[in-house]
């Protein structure tokens, strides 16, 4: 075990996978010379050269398209989106090319590609640099979507994503980059498609992922002081969802709260709530409650952003409402 930042954990994952497989390379804006805007690529070009760590033009469409093309020709590309918000620029390449090619061409060639997408609220970056967009991609067959909440998962999921033969979108919360945590030494892999029961509990199931998972941990501590025993599940993977782990938990706790930073309407929580309602409504002793952002763009001013944020207090309040 070593205690490192989330950014360092992603860098270790990149370094190990690039050393392991010469087909792996990465391209994006400001990653080679500058080392990434969050330091997540620092020194990578020194180690592997600018032929494998490539500064691109500001051309998100060409970045994703070229990565797809290189994957079709035998490479295993990693594309950095700078900010997850900019996937909007290259949505066709994600929706109609990257997600479709394997199925649409009858399985002739898969796209072993990772799209790294730094998302979420940080430093009051406002409407176009703060979003959590994972729900869009939960809706697209052919993609895998992961969202680590801590440095160990950041490393393990990124390594698994790079080794996966399918296109994977890797959401990495910008506020997490500087956070520290223990990461197992050696070849640490976290399987895609499996949720993690972080805390066993008997009264209520609380499901989350990414940055909000850390708020849930705090909420569970607050609630423990009030005698509410929370079972905490970190989804880790948004698509494919680990439905089994959720259903098994809800069957025991009979209560479900889902929390995420993304807009509540049409979010991951909506899908999970619908699945549990379809599969296990007889198990429930209370309505399913979702905690998410209000249905507005991310605002700039401090009081507005504060009102927008999902916090441990808001999550704790939602849990109390189902007890």
């Amino acid at each position: 075990m070593s205690t490192i930042t989330f950014a360092q954990a992603t860098l270790d994952a990149m370094t190990e996978e690039m050393a392991r497989d010469e087909r792996v390379f990465v391209m994006g804006e400001d990653i080679a010379r500058q080392g990434g805007i969050f330091g997540q690529f620092k020194g990578l070009a020194d180690r592997f050269g600018t032929g494998r760590v490539m500064d691109t033009p500001i051309s998100e469409t060409a970045i994703v398209g070229a990565c797809i093309g290189s994957a079709l020709a035998g490479m295993r590309p990693v594309a950095d989106m700078h900010f997850a918000d900019f996937i909007g620029v290259c949505f066709d390449e994600v929706l109609n090319q990257m997600a479709k090619i394997y199925y649409m061409f009858g399985g002739q060639k898969s796209i072993p590609m990772v799209l790294r997408a730094p998302d979420g609220l940080v430093n009051q970056a406002a409407a176009q640099h703060s979003q959590s967009l994972e729900a869009f991609f939960l809706h697209i067959p052919g993609l895998k979507v992961v969202a680590p909440s801590n440095p160990a998962d950041a490393k393990g999921l990124l390594k698994s994503a790079i080794r996966d033969d399918n296109p994977v979108i890797y959401f990495e919360h910008k506020a997490l980059f500087s956070t520290k945590g223990e990461v197992p030494d050696g070849d640490h892999l976290v399987p895609i498609g499996r949720a993690n029961v972080v805390r066993k509990g008997s009264d209520v199931t609380l499901v989350s992922y990414s940055m909000t998972m850390n708020h849930c941990v705090k909420a569970a501590e607050i609630l423990a002081g009030e005698g509410i025993d929370v079972e905490l599940i970190d989804l880790r993977t948004i698509s494919p969802l680990d439905v089994g782990t959720i259903l098994e938990s809800v069957a025991r706790t009979t209560r479900l709260v889902i929390a995420h930073e993304a807009v509540k309407q049409g979010g991951v929580g909506a899908e999970l709530a619908a699945i549990v309602a379809e599969e296990a409504i007889d198990c429930l002793d209370a309505p399913i409650v979702r905690v998410g952002a209000p249905f507005t763009p991310v605002p700039f001013a401090r009081p507005l952003e504060r009102a927008y944020r999902v916090t441990p207090e808001k999550i704790a309040e939602a849990v109390r409402s189902v007890m």
Binding site: F25, G51, R52, T56, P57, S59, T61, A62, V64, G65, A66, C67, I68, G69, S70, A71, L72, A73, G74, M75, P77, D92, E93, N96, Q97, I101, Y102, Y103, M104, F105, G106, G107, Q108, K109, S110, P141, G142, K144, D164, D165, N166
Partner: protein, 334 residues
Amino acid sequence: MCAKAARGGEGTSPSKYGKELLAGFYRTMTTIRHFEQTVEKCFLEGEIPGFVHLYIGEEAVAAGVMANLRDSDYIQSTHRGHGHAIAKGADLKRMMAEIFGKSTGSCKGKGGSMHIADFGVGMLGANGVVGGGFTIATGAALAHKMQGTDGVAVAFFGDGASNRGTFHEAANMAAAWGLPVIFVCENNKWASTTPYRTTTSVDHIADRAAGYGMPGVVVDGNDVFAVYEGARSLVERARRGEGPALLECKTYRIKGHFVGDPEKYRTKEEVRKVFEETDPIPRFESAVVKARALTRKELDAIDGEAREAVRLALEFARTSPEPEESALFEGLYV
């Protein structure tokens, strides 16, 4: 002052080429023509579902460009892609079966006409999104460069697609990185139902190449020799590591945008006149016969073989089974 694209490939005599190359041009063009005529007929009779976009009249472009490529070179095709696939060497039977939506199709019936791919011969796929192929071909060229081969990638696109932002991003990236990609514009004068000059700022798409610091060459796209020569110099250049280029092939879309297009935007007379005057196949026939490079008899033999190959492909498609419903869930993830 606008830098004008070079014109290339004119005045070439067929007699300078070997018989094998000439026969190859003809086989490719006639195979495409028979294939497309068959597809049109079967679509109109209700045998083929979905949408089909025919390549009739543009055969010289695919034949001329692809004669410069190897199996290990890549192409990105378009919604009007049957001709590209055939010229690149895709299997006719599996192509036709795909267009019929059969389980034996090149994409197991998952793609259809707009999504034919044949990775075995470097055909990285047709693309239902106009302008979707520029960046993908650029990436395939990048892979060639990273892998240290002298392979190239070709992105086919139409005059309509030249107005997509993807063109700009791919052209700039390819030129900035010196990638071995050739952007081949099939300027067939029609962007779906819109005459291209009403929505495009330049007469020649190839003029735009200067803006990216790459060569732009205009050729008569209905003259297979002109296309071949134009593509040859640009492909060789790319193989030598001298970077991307743009080849514009002036042609004309003889058929509607799709089969069934009522074509209210032009007259039948206009189309008939253009076809009579510029159809690349009779032009090739008279040129080679006049130059005594191939005889009528030799041409007829090739044409007969092409016709038979298409007949067999049709029979294969018709007699192949449709996919089982269970195939719906197959091949979504590896």
